[in-house]
Amino acid sequence: MNSPLLVADGLVKRYGGVVATDNVSLALGRGQVMGIIGPNGAGKSTLIGLLGGALTPSQGRIVFNGEDITGLSASDRARRGIGRTYQIPRPFLDMTVRENLLAARFSLHPFESGAKARAACDAILERCGLADVADLNGRDMPLLRRKRLEVARAMALEPRLLLLDEVGAGLVDSEVTELIGLIQSLRHDVEGIIIIEHVLRVVRECCEQLLVINFGKKFAEGATSEVMASDEVATVYLGTARGDGAATLPEDKILDRLDMSKPAHAAAVSGLVGARGVDAGTAVPPMLELLGVHAGYGQARVLNGIDLQVRPGQVVAILGTNGAGKTTLSHVISGAIRPTAGQMRVDGVDVTGAPPHQLARLGLAQCMEGRRIFAPLTVEENLLLPARGVAASDRAERLERVYTLFPDLQKMRSNGGTSMSGGQQQMLAIGRALMARPRLVLFDEISLGLAPIMMDRLYEALFELRQAGLTMLIVEQDVERALELADDVHVMEHGRFALSGTAKAIRDDPRLRHLYIGTAD
């Protein structure tokens, strides 16, 4: 009985050259709950994939309950009692919530009486607070319900081991409390749980073991309390950290520091800014304005009445936890999705529902979340793409400027766009946004999954752009950095601005900590 439930030994997952999981080992004792934390893009979900069987490791072995399951398919692992949830929920859209659970149930007990199976599923739905929607289609569940459905569906497997991937993300405090209660109660049904979480409170209150991952490597491990106490964990995990001690981080080798002293440099930067900012207060209409914007996907309402103004020369930051609706908001601004209600104006002109490329031509550029570098294009081609219908000389000039801003890119100009390190790709994404010589740039989660040191570099660049008078809209998870850079700040929660004001005011506002409880400590 004291043999561990799950042992992973030297797991490695490579995608081509990129190593997503680098020699990670872990052991989960029976009755234990283990937490796995680390910055986005550190390889947490990959690890879950490896354990759940969705991915096959390039190296290493996994032993579950004394049996080597490395070679087993996901379904066989599931049948042995490994239940897994997806970070981005994947319910069976065209089946009712109950059927979603029954699928698991029937695959497990094909010949169980229907009534019994149904009773079992309903019990689980009851526990997960989904009883009232049992007969609605998965398609009609809003995000948070879908996340619960993920857990419920995994539970329908009667799992011995539960792998929970960011089930807490985007929940408000009360919901987090509920979730913690649920997880605590699950402990009695399963022999072990592994939780990937951003909401540290969940980790703290549920897990006795904690594993910190960074760049796919095991960074720290131990009893939750100790690990949480350690400074370098804070350094890695809480974005607020500065790049000290970062000399150990790989990004550093590829990168040479930006030299701020060169005057050419400042010139280059300013040359990339489409329209200088005018001093606030003058009677120009806001460059970008949202009036009571609602938006969502199908049945799911994500934005519920957003009012936003960005004046020329202003830097506005939008903060909020995962699932608060930040991404949807930037989709609306880029024109990728149409608001279901409300208006969007550029220079006072209504542009609601205009297709993305037209908005782009109005001088709105976006540095999209996840970089979205075009793999088939070289670095330079990626840069040239937004500079449409521009005279060759001008194009070349802009290229030069971007290259002075990010010398790395020049070195890699003819490499495939995605062949570079994450940080360099982010540089490329920023440079690409600037190539259109935009008047306003939306920077969406540019620090995601980057080492603090690299974040520093990128933010240095943003500060320069701000000096040059570029109007910016910044969507960030990393509160501290955003607050430093921004003039005005809005904090989102459930598709609304829960908190708005100047950076200074927000910084001192106690409600910020409340909204962010868990991440800031």
Binding site: A78, I88, G114, A115, Y297, G298, A300
Partner: protein, 330 residues
């Protein structure tokens, strides 16, 4: 085969959940359909030859369409290989009757089995293909098989084979078609309103997620594929029996695939009644436009396009209350 849905009463929720529909189709299948079939079987002798002829064609096409619907509509396996199974069925029947003079009523299911066997042998290969590649793969497979039958002289080559005995009369054929249709409906009811359908739809909606909760996608898909092929094989056998001669261009011809596909799309993919309505529509249309062949096909094409564009759930979809807006939070 009882499932949770059986004991479940229709609830106040305004839009019809698949559950209600399942219950309805279950009702139709359990009470209404058999009644219809029985009635047809009884009045058949009184029917004019033309009615029998049309009825036969309808039943044959419905059987094929139901089978295809099981694959594409419920299993998400859009196959363009229908012709191969029809052809195998027809050839198997002819072979069995000519070589071993097996009686028809045995030869037909045997032909179905032959088709299922083909499905079994190719399943490993085709299920490695997903989505579009599966579709194109099955098409290529069907064409390859046809060309093989054309070139390989073993089964009469391009000239084909003739049934050595006299085929049964129209009435008998009609009755046989009814019987096969009954089998089909039964199979479809079991497959679409039982726990199997839940697993099948789970695989259709998200194969990986299904695997993650213990469903074995390959197995589920294989079962659906085998059942569908068996039904198609029997339909093919019946056609071979009727024509009394088989040759590759007709029996392995793409037009089988085409007809079945348009029937289901026009009728309503993934809907229990889709194939029936579609078949009625297509057959009646072809009767009306019989004298303008090329025009008739062109019109079918236009209808196909219009339906795809404006009625994604087919004619039956229009009958029902509109399906809700698609798209999920991602």
């Amino acid at each position: 085969m009882l499932t949770s849905q059986l004991s479940h009463p229709s609830h106040p929720e305004p839009l019809p959940s698949p559950l209600e529909l399942a219950n309805m189709s279950r009702f139709c299948a359990y009470l209404f359909l058999p009644a219809c079939l029985l009635a047809l079987a009884v009045i058949a002798p009184a029917m004019s030859d033309y009615a029998l002829e049309i009825g036969f064609r309808l039943l044959l096409l419905i059987t094929l369409a139901e089978a295809w619907n099981l694959l594409a509509g419920y299993g998400g396996l859009v196959s363009l290989g229908t012709a191969s199974f029809v052809g195998i069925g027809a050839y198997a029947l002819t072979g069995l009757v000519n070589q071993a003079d097996v009686p028809f009523f045995l030869a037909i299911p045997a032909a179905g089995l032959a088709a299922a066997l083909l499905a079994l042998t190719v399943s490993r290969a085709v299920f490695r293909l997903r989505g579009l590649y599966f579709t194109v793969g099955t098409l290529a497979l069907a064409e390859a098989l046809r060309m093989f039958m054309v070139n390989y002289s073993g089964f009469g080559g391009a000239s084909g084979l003739f049934l050595s005995v006299d085929p049964p009369g129209l009435l008998e054929l009609f009755w046989t078609a009814l019987a096969i249709f009954a089998v089909t409906s039964l199979a479809m009811t079991v497959a679409t309103s039982s726990r199997f359908s839940i697993l099948l739809r789970a695989v259709r909606d998200d194969e990986d997620a299904a695997a993650q909760i213990g469903v074995r996608p390959f197995r589920i898909k294989l079962i659906a594929f085998l059942v569908a092929s068996f039904l198609m094989g029997m339909a093919g056998a019946l056609q071979g029996l009727k024509v009394g001669a088989v040759e590759p261009y007709g029996m392995f011809g793409i037009q089988w695939t085409v007809n079945v596909l348009s029937i289901v799309i026009i009728g309503g993919q993934g809907l229990r009644a889709g194939p029936i309505v579609g078949a009625l529509f297509v057959v009646l249309l072809s009767e009306l436009l019989a004298d303008y062949p090329a025009l008739h096909l062109a019109i079918t094409g236009v209808i196909l396009i219009v339906v795809i564009r404006f009625a994604p759930k087919g004619l039956v979809g229009l009958f029902q209350r509109r399906p809700r807006a698609a798209g999920g939070v991602q």
